[in-house]
């Protein structure tokens, strides 16, 4: 079972919102990335949360700085529009890329990208929101734009077109600490034959276990539960951050929606429940 810190990036900063909105600045992404690497993270996800809005790719130098120091796989998403963008991200040091907006507007991009770069390199990010009718609708542009596409059907299509992996995020749960959307995850994970990474909603260790056992997730991504703990531990440096909404950092308040935990404690706990995780032993 892979435990994957997800880092939302805006410009030079690590940010975190609720329902993918109201972004707070938490710090420098590469500092958190390195911290999680040393703590035993299995992979990392960088999601450039404004790139698809402004159509810019500012994340490349950050990818390189990170990949030079952090020797675990890095998946990069947000604003990748075509094969050229994907190639640039991979050349900069990303191991996998994650597509959402571009793939929904042109599903053939999934096939073209997986043929060229290998399907295991192409991850499709699905941002899903529950409709009043109880189905799930896929959103793009980091949860801002409804598409009218059924998220479950889209997951099936994306897998068939050659995606190697899916990141499934519940917009309703994202940033709330109320737990993963188990129904959403189970529907997708049992439908497709490729790995599914659960994302959005982790507020405590039990939530993670639930999405593995009941949600049938193949891997688990999380943000707030790790970030706020990391800040409390050692990563807070008030003077580093100038851009964006730094009010939260200045105030030094605690984030009350989650019971933060460390990578070590989540792995210990899952291991005790009989779930296989990579042991954290910094060999060498």
């Amino acid at each position: 079972m892979r435990i994957i810190p997800r880092l939302d990036i805006k410009g030079p900063n690590l940010v975190k919102g609720i329902h993918l909105e109201g972004l707070r600045v938490l710090g420098k992404p590469e500092i958190f990335a390195n911290y999680y690497y040393l703590q035993g993270a299995d992979e990392l996800i960088y999601m450039d949360v404004v790139a698809s809005l402004y159509q810019r790719n500012s994340i490349l130098p950050l990818i390189s700085r990170t990949a030079r120091e952090v020797f675990i796989p890095l998946t990069v998403g947000g604003g990748l529009r075509d094969l050229t963008d994907i190639q640039m991200a991979l050349r900069a040091g990303a191991d996998k890329v994650s597509l959402n907006t571009a793939a929904i507007s042109d599903p053939n991009l999934i096939t073209a990208a997986s043929e060229r770069f290998g399907s295991s390199t192409i991850t499709i990010s699905i941002e899903a929101k529950k409709t009043d009718a109880g189905s799930y609708e896929a959103y793009t542009d980091n949860g801002r734009e409804p598409t009218g596409v059924d998220a479950i059907e889209w997951a099936y299509t994306a897998a068939k077109l050659g995606a190697g992996e899916l990141i499934v995020t519940s917009i309703d749960r994202e940033g709330t600490g109320r737990g993963y959307d188990l129904e959403l995850l189970r529907q997708v994970a049992t439908l497709v034959d490729i790995p599914v990474i659960a994302c959005g909603g982790a507020g405590n260790i039990g939530h993670v276990r639930d999405v593995i056992v009941e949600g049938m997730a193949d891997a688990v991504a999380m943000s707030s539960v790790l970030h706020y703990g990391a800040i409390e531990n050692q990563l807070f440096d008030n003077n580093l951050y100038e851009e964006g909404n730094t009010e939260y950092l200045q105030s030094q308040r605690k984030f009350s929606k989650v019971e933060s935990f460390s990578l070590e404690s989540i792995k210990d706990s899952l291991s005790n429940d009989g779930i296989t995780v990579r042991p954290i032993n910094n060999f060498g």
Binding site: F71, I72, D193
Partner: protein, 225 residues
Amino acid sequence: MSKTIPNIVIIDYGMGNIFSVKSACDRVGLNTTISQNPDELYDSDGIIIPGVGAFEDAMLSLDNLGLSEAIRDFSKSNKTILGLCLGMHLLFTESYEFGWHKGLDIIGGDVVKLESHKVGNRNYKVPHIGWNSIKRVTNNKMESCDLWKESLLDGLPESVYMYFLHSFYVRPEDSRLLLSTTEYGTNVFCSGLRKDNLFAFQFHPERSGSSGLHIYKNLADYISG
């Protein structure tokens, strides 16, 4: 005469995770050149063949750049070769990745697809993505002989975790080449092999944390002799 620092060429045929491989080499002090020029291979002390992507495209690219022949020639020089993931697959005779394709044929055997399957409640999905352990292969005739010793796996603990990202795996004809195997559900496949000074791994040591970096450290020592 002063000893020159060994130089490794990371072969760039447009499809590798070059950046990660170079970063790992940098970290352990290996002197590297990224190149697609066959002449530079001949001058190097060792080559790394990385690789992410499709087998057919990779072979086409190697052929077009004149690298297929250069790598085959290099393999006869008894210098060090390290093949990683797709770079491991390319060394084989043939591949069944989306059709039938001819490989570099430096190692006899083929490349076949990993099939997704269920064991009890657990679904072993493909691609196989994530950390998995590599098991030491023991030489049947000499149980006491440790094949990892003085190889690039020297010093690593049994069943150490490495990072895998693949849908295909290799089947060498000569089982004596096997260094390690890995289990994925009911599949047991070759995750590491050695033929003289040629090493190849299915996993990505450059993305396998400190355990993977240890392989690069071994490579640096191995090449310096």
